[in-house]
């Protein structure tokens, strides 16, 4: 199949020396019978023993086969090997040929293979490029998008210009999906060659202006990877981003919120600071508030990453009063998966260290379950300790005691440390804690006891009062304890406070001198220390022992111990033969050895305020990672806030209408101005830009922000102004009058008419008037005093057509009645209507009432299939003054309106693309059938223009 497709490549393939097909065919058919699964492991397995040249021969043969099923089978087996991480790069030539396959799965698998191996086989990969270039022009958006995706995923620097070109085309593609793919492609091209940055910046700027929820999130991701510091690109899009946020996919929400956090920190004043400077809090900047408000519902997201993003935004950017909500929602995340729990706890632990009062109400949420993972247990313990206050201490201590007797010894020893930290944080509780710790010494679990001793040692250092009885107890225990750290701690304590226990200390030294050789290094060091200290305090009893210990240490294997003994010996056992200097030191030796030592500090891991953005990976690891964007400090002065103003009026906050999230078509009410190819359903911009200057009403030129649209605004919006001719310059000696229907809704059942008078003659025309002659009543336009040559003037008139399309006869006079001409205006039935906004439910209910004779049903013109939804909507709107109903199911376009008569008649139009049906529901059959005909011809006309 598709031989024509790869014909051009045949010659390079042949040069590569493919194996003769018949040689391989026998193995191929054998293998083909086994299922995908068994064969997935098999070819490589058999190849292990056979030579390299035979490897994958069967697969090659299958790829060469003319049958799609064979190719598919081969590709599946290859991908199965790729997935297992086996090297299949030698199959590249055979695979790349199939890039032209018509079978969508073969093609898909070849794409997958290509992206994996193109980097290793750069020259061969080039053979596939032409196919992608062709596919980029395909009418099917999925094919365009996937071609762009694969093309940009091929990491071959040679094709960079092709990639960039394709990207630039795709950015203004009709389909939002292709534009999304384009946004995703930007970082790929950038990573291939950072030199392309200036070009890519232009592309990013374009994509940032995109108003589709599909594109925004990815565009921001590209922005973050390529030019995260160009905050100025965001200004114009800031309000749009805020409004769209709720409807963006959850992954995009995370990226956007994280970026906006940095934006807020550079563009607004610190809300907490304002609080201090002035008596009352300054109101927040409206834009700042807008973000906080639109983001807030996302606290309820099911995606933990979104909740965390919102939480960190509030933490870094909201006034302090909001912290309670932040904590509530972070605590809620603790019910999610263990991995999420662990990450959230790390953030909470940072919060609990910096501002414990915020979490104090949630103490019980951090109680440890025996099923928690060990890292979760430790972080929870850290938080609990940070939250300790004098008032909750009794409860907390009981809880900590429960952990101490837990079978998990790691938790138990951590709990002991936690008790120690509580004691040093809350001085009033130190005694209780110490008693508790001492009672732990009776435990059988050695690690707990050891931990307790270490903690007691630390606490005793802090304590000023006498605790000699405790040290005595410890000294008694030392024989039973095997853990070196604990033994070392006890020895240190005895040495430090040897003057308080003069009777026991020398005896302990005696015992340890005996066991010196069997001790661990850290214990040995402490024995040496103890010996030295005792020798100074109590030379009578200890001198000989000390000498013995120092001698042993002198020949120890560990050089630390040898050094220590050599350093201490001249201090405590001055050699009588050596003179002065050492003796001087000898006098001060007590000061040196027994100087008061600063107490160790017991702190949480996050005691120092982490400089990193909450919830970021850098924060979690407490390490600056590549790609981390530091959170800027608040500016001292208010930066210019007008930069965010878009030409349109600020979007009303309530614009997120009833179906804020997932309002099916609501978001599609977008304008076309910046994106000519925007695929929007409702298009309010002038269809024909040249007609715009002639358009009469002021509101035409008003750029409309599509996101600020209220349903009421929609009624006022001008549509594509189709101009009709009333009199032409040839029949009226130079005066030309054109009219259009501005579609302004008038209460009185009248239809507005906008008239443009143009003088094409060489002389000025005086007193131009338009009067009613016959037919429906006319509210005549204001007379024009003078119409200079070549000038045009616009006037408004109103005609009371009601429901009928009767022509209105007019009398046009100028030059004080010297010139006179008759004309008539007959409105298209579509212009007799006024749009009505309604929900999809209302639409189905109401249109359901108008069935049978009241329903005009017919086929859509065939040409309609060429039109996109937005073009179709535009065609309908240009033929009739209707408004699209938001929430219509995909594939259907619904419009609603009513007649302008004193008793309005509702009109409903439904286009069903799949059934190829156009239905008009209307009480008045004639109106319905005429409207149906007009719509059909309108759509056909729009299609033929394409």
């Amino acid at each position: 199949m598709s031989n024509g497709g790869f014909q051009p490549y045949n010659s390079p393939m042949d040069q590569l020396g493919l194996p003769p097909p018949d040689h391989a065919s026998s193995t191929g058919s054998q293998d083909g019978d086994r299922g995908t699964r068994s064969s997935a492991a098999d070819p490589a397995g058999s190849a292990f023993f056979s030579g390299d040249f035979k490897k994958h021969d069967d697969l090659r043969a299958m790829l060469e086969s003319s049958k799609d099923s064979q190719k598919l089978e081969a590709m599946r087996r290859i991908i199965a090997m790729v997935a297992k991480g086996k090297d299949c790069s030698d199959l590249f030539p055979s695979v790349v040929k199939n890039v032209v396959s018509k079978n969508s799965e073969v093609k898909k698998l070849v794409y997958v293979y290509l992206t994996r191996y193109a980097e290793e086989q750069q020259d061969l990969a080039l053979l596939s490029i032409a196919t992608f270039q062709r596919a980029l022009k395909d009418p099917n958006q999925l094919i365009r998008a996937s071609a762009l995706r694969v093309l940009t995923s091929i990491r071959v620097p040679v094709i960079l210009p092709i990639q960039t070109l394709a990207l630039q085309d795709a950015v203004s593609d009709m389909s939002a999906y292709v534009r999304k793919t384009a946004a995703l492609a930007i970082p790929k091209i950038y990573s291939l060659d950072p030199e392309t940055k200036p070009q890519l910046m232009g592309v990013i700027e374009k994509l940032l202006a995109d108003k589709t929820t599909l594109v925004v999130g990815v565009a921001i991701q590209a922005f973050e990877e390529i030019c995260p510091n160009r905050i100025d690109l965001i200004h114009k899009n800031y309000r749009k981003l805020c409004e769209l946020l709720a409807d963006v996919q959850d992954w995009g929400q995370v990226v956007i919120i994280n970026m906006l956090t940095r934006y807020v920190r550079t563009q607004f004043l610190d809300p907490a600071q304002q609080n201090q400077k002035q008596e009352r809090q300054n109101p927040l900047d409206p834009d700042h508030e807008l973000l906080l408000r639109t983001v807030r519902p996302l606290f309820q997201s099911q995606n933990a990453a979104v909740v965390m993003a919102v939480a960190q935004l509030y933490y870094h950017c909201a006034p302090p009063g909001y912290m309670n909500i932040v904590i509530r929602h972070l605590v809620r995340l603790l019910r999610a998966s263990p991995e999420v729990q662990s990450c959230v706890l790390t953030s909470l632990s940072a919060l609990s260290a910096s501002s414990p009062h915020l979490l104090s109400g949630h103490l019980k949420c951090f109680y440890i379950h025996s099923t928690d993972s060990s890292s979760v247990k430790l972080v929870k313990l850290d938080i609990l300790t940070n939250l300790a206050t004098d008032s909750n201490f009794p409860v907390l201590l009981r809880e900590l005691q429960a952990y101490v007797s837990s079978p998990d010894s790691e938790l138990a020893s951590a709990a002991v440390r936690a008790i120690g930290r509580c004691a040093s944080q809350l001085p009033d509780t130190t005694d209780t804690c110490l008693n508790n710790l001492v009672s732990l010494l009776a435990k059988k679990d050695e690690s707990v006891v050891a931990e307790a001793i270490v903690v007691i040692k630390k606490l005793l250092q802090v304590q000023t009062s006498d605790h000699s009885h405790m040290i005595v107890d410890l000294a008694r225990l030392v024989d039973g304890i095997a853990i070196p750290r604990a033994r070392a701690s006890i020895l240190w304590l005895i040495g430090e406070y040897c003057d308080r226990i003069p009777k026991i200390a020398p005896d302990v030294l005696r015992k340890f001198a005996k066991s010196f050789l069997e001790e661990e290094d850290q214990v040995k060091l402490q024995i040496v220390n103890l010996a030295a200290k005792l020798c100074v305090c109590n030379p009578k009893q200890a001198r000989l022992l000390a000498q013995y210990v120092l001698n042993l240490a002198k020949y120890d294997q560990n050089y630390d111990i040898r050094d220590r003994s050599r350093f201490l010996r001249p201090l405590v056992l001055p050699d009588p033969s050596v003179a002065e200097p050492t003796l001087l030191a000898g006098k001060r030796v007590k000061k040196i050895l027994l100087a008061p030592k600063p107490a160790p500090e017991v702190q949480s891991r996050f005691a120092e305020k982490s400089p990193f953005q909450l919830g970021s990976l850098s924060h979690l690891l407490n390490l600056r990672l590549p790609g981390y964007q530091a959170l800027p400090d608040w500016p001292a002065e208010q930066p210019d806030s007008s930069v965010r103003a878009v030409a349109a009026p600020a979007p009303a906050p309530s614009s997120m209408a009833a179906y804020s999230r997932g309002g099916p078509k609501e978001q599609k009410s977008k304008q076309k101005q910046q994106q000519p190819a925007e695929a929007s359903l409702l298009d309010f911009g002038p269809t024909n830009p040249t007609a715009a200057p002639a358009a009469p009403s002021k509101s035409t030129s008003r750029p409309v922000d599509p996101f600020g649209l209220m349903p009421d605004d929609l009624l006022l919006l001008p549509t594509p102004n189709r101009m009709y001719s009333l009199v032409n310059k040839y029949s009226a000696s130079g005066l030309q009058v054109d009219y259009s229907f501005p579609r302004t809704c008038l209460a009185s059942g009248r239809i507005a008419l906008s008239l443009v008078f143009t003088n094409h003659s060489s002389a000025a025309m005086r007193h131009v008037t338009l009067q009613h002659a016959a037919g429906p009543a006319l509210q005549p336009p204001e007379p024009i005093d003078t119409l200079e040559p070549g000038v045009n003037t616009t006037r408004q008139a109103e005609v009371a057509w009601g429901d009928s399309t009767t022509a209105c006869q007019l009398l046009l006079r100028w030059d004080n009645g010297a010139q006179e001409i008759r004309a008539s205006v007959q409105p298209p039935v579509g212009e007799l209507l006024a749009p009505v906004t309604m929900s999809a439910q209302q639409f189905t209910a109401e249109s359901g009432k108008l069935k049978g004779l009241n329903e005009e049903k017919g086929r859509l013109p065939e040409a309609a299939s060429q039109l996109s939804d937005s073009d179709l909507a535009e065609a309908v709107r240009s033929s009739a003054n209707l408004v699209a109903v938001s929430g219509a199911p995909t594939g259907q376009l619904w419009f609603a309106g009513r007649s302008c008569a004193s008793r309005p008649i509702p009109v409903y139009v439904a286009l069903d693309r799949q059934a190829n049906l156009l239905r008009v529901h209307c009480e008045q059959m004639t109106l319905g059938s005429v409207l149906h005909r007009d719509l059909c011809s309108g759509i056909a006309a729009a299609a033929s223009k394409k």
């Binding site: 999925l142 025996s370 964007q629 009833a658 999230r661 997932g662």
Partner: protein, 420 residues
């Protein structure tokens, strides 16, 4: 963002790898294996591991480590949520996640992974969209494929959901029987200390749905007592604004089963302590000569509902080798590898007090443990919720048919533990 994904089983085999940027050699996983070796159990592996050049973020689901390798700053929860989503999608496609299933369908899973991420950034993660791009295997399709000789997993046109504002639902859904089922499930977490006081308790609820409705149904679910709901999280299909206004869930549902919302039932702190539907008495003594265990249960009446699926689990310290117990009701098992005693009691009959007692056998010569094992208890009560939450009604708009509607209430034990 995400450079590569590896799927690793418990014996340390990398059975699937997918690279989204340049290839990262498998050896990066050695750091991960070191970490696994350090951890006492696979669940205890740190989710975020730092290596000299990479950051490894992993999730453990269904005996499989889903490992993502990153090189630069990325929100860790973003990656974790994504990896869970991968597991969810596999489950959605094949009804379960196991190593065998993934290995059997390796090409399909690989294609899915390819669609889910592009250059490390999530592309399509909605099951509804993915299912249109890559068709899930069904028995029917296997048969038709075999008959027609055509078999392809891949669709040639863009899924409708991709461009729509309701990406979670595709159009043209048709069912012969229209059904909507709602399961209100509440889980009671509690810690009871050795003297029987409830130290903490919390009720976490969720509403899981199975919706099989044709067309574009617009549903509204209202509650009798919606003020009980606290700290809710909502499926993206729910209209936030409506919920904020009158606490009604108004939504166009995804097709199939999904979690509609989860919540915490008010009370907080020790508010639900009295709601634990059973009391437990225990004596666990470790002695050199005769170590003993005795546990007895008694039901506590909860509005006339039966407490079912009661199971008691105790994990003993290292020096315990075996137990020989006699239960009055049910059966017990002892797993000597993990030293876990599981006593399946089953239904708790009123006025009956099931108990289990007998000696514990310690390893000879080992020190007598002085720590106290925690007793985990499981139960389930159907037709009753701890919080008392009740669904008021379900309204369907936008479609004409009358669906079959069902609501089920279940209360289960979450992390219910008794300290000894």
């Amino acid at each position: 963002m995400i450079h590569s994904i590896f799927l690793i089983n418990n014996s340390g085999d990398i059975f699937l790898e997918k690279h989204y940027k340049s290839v990262i050699p498998k050896t990066v996983c050695d750091y991960f294996f070191d970490e696994v070796a350090k951890a006492s159990s696979p669940e205890n592996v740190q989710p975020v591991i730092q290596t000299p050049n990479h950051i490894i973020i992993s999730v453990y689901r269904a005996q499989i480590h889903f490992v993502a390798v990153c090189r630069s700053e990325v929100p860790p929860l973003f990656v974790i949520e994504f990896l869970h989503r991968v597991a969810d999608i596999v489950k959605d496609y094949f009804e379960d996640v196991t190593e065998t299933i993934i290995k059997d369908n390796v090409v399909l899973v690989y294609e899915l992974l390819d669609e889910m991420l592009d250059n490390g950034f999530p592309l399509a993660t909605e099951p509804n969209i993915l299912k249109e791009l890559i068709r899930p295997p069904t028995l029917f399709r296997t048969i038709t494929d075999a008959m027609s000789g055509k078999n392809t997993n891949v669709s040639a046109s863009l899924p409708t959901g991709q461009l729509s504002n309701i990406p979670w639902r595709r159009i043209g859904v048709r069912y012969a029987n229209n059904e909507a089922y709602f399961d209100v499930i509440e889980e009671l977490d509690a810690i009871v200390d050795r003297s029987g006081n409830v130290v903490m308790s919390d009720v976490a609820g969720r509403i899981d749905c199975l919706i099989k409705l044709s067309g574009m149904p617009d549903l509204t679910l209202t509650f009798v007592n919606s003020r009980l709901l606290e700290d809710v999280s909502l499926h993206p299909c729910i209209r936030f604004r409506r919920f904020d206004n009158d606490r009604a869930l108004s939504f166009i549902p995804p097709d199939g089963s999904f979690r509609l919302m989860s919540y915490r039932a008010g009370g907080g702190g020790g508010g639900h302590g009295q709601m634990i539907p059973l009391t437990l008495r225990h004596t666990i003594q470790f002695r050199e000569a005769a170590s003993r265990l005795e546990i007895s249960l008694s039901p506590r009446p909860v509005s006339g509902k039966v407490v079912d699926e009661v199971a008691v689990q105790v994990t003993f310290p290292r020096s315990v080798t075996n137990v020989s117990l006699t239960p009055s009701v049910g059966k017990y098992t002892f797993d000597s590898a993990s030293r876990t005693l599981t006593w399946n009691v089953g239904k708790l009959e009123p006025q009956k007090f099931p108990s289990i007692k007998g000696p514990i056998i310690l390893q000879t010569g080992a020190p007598v443990p002085d720590c106290n094992p925690t007793i985990l208890v499981n139960f389930s009560i159907s037709g009753w919720t701890v919080s008392g939450l009740r669904v008021n009604r379900l309204d369907l708009m936008g479609e004409k048919y009358k669906p079959f509607k069902g609501v089920k209430y279940v209360t289960r034990a979450g992390k219910l533990e008794f300290r000894t």
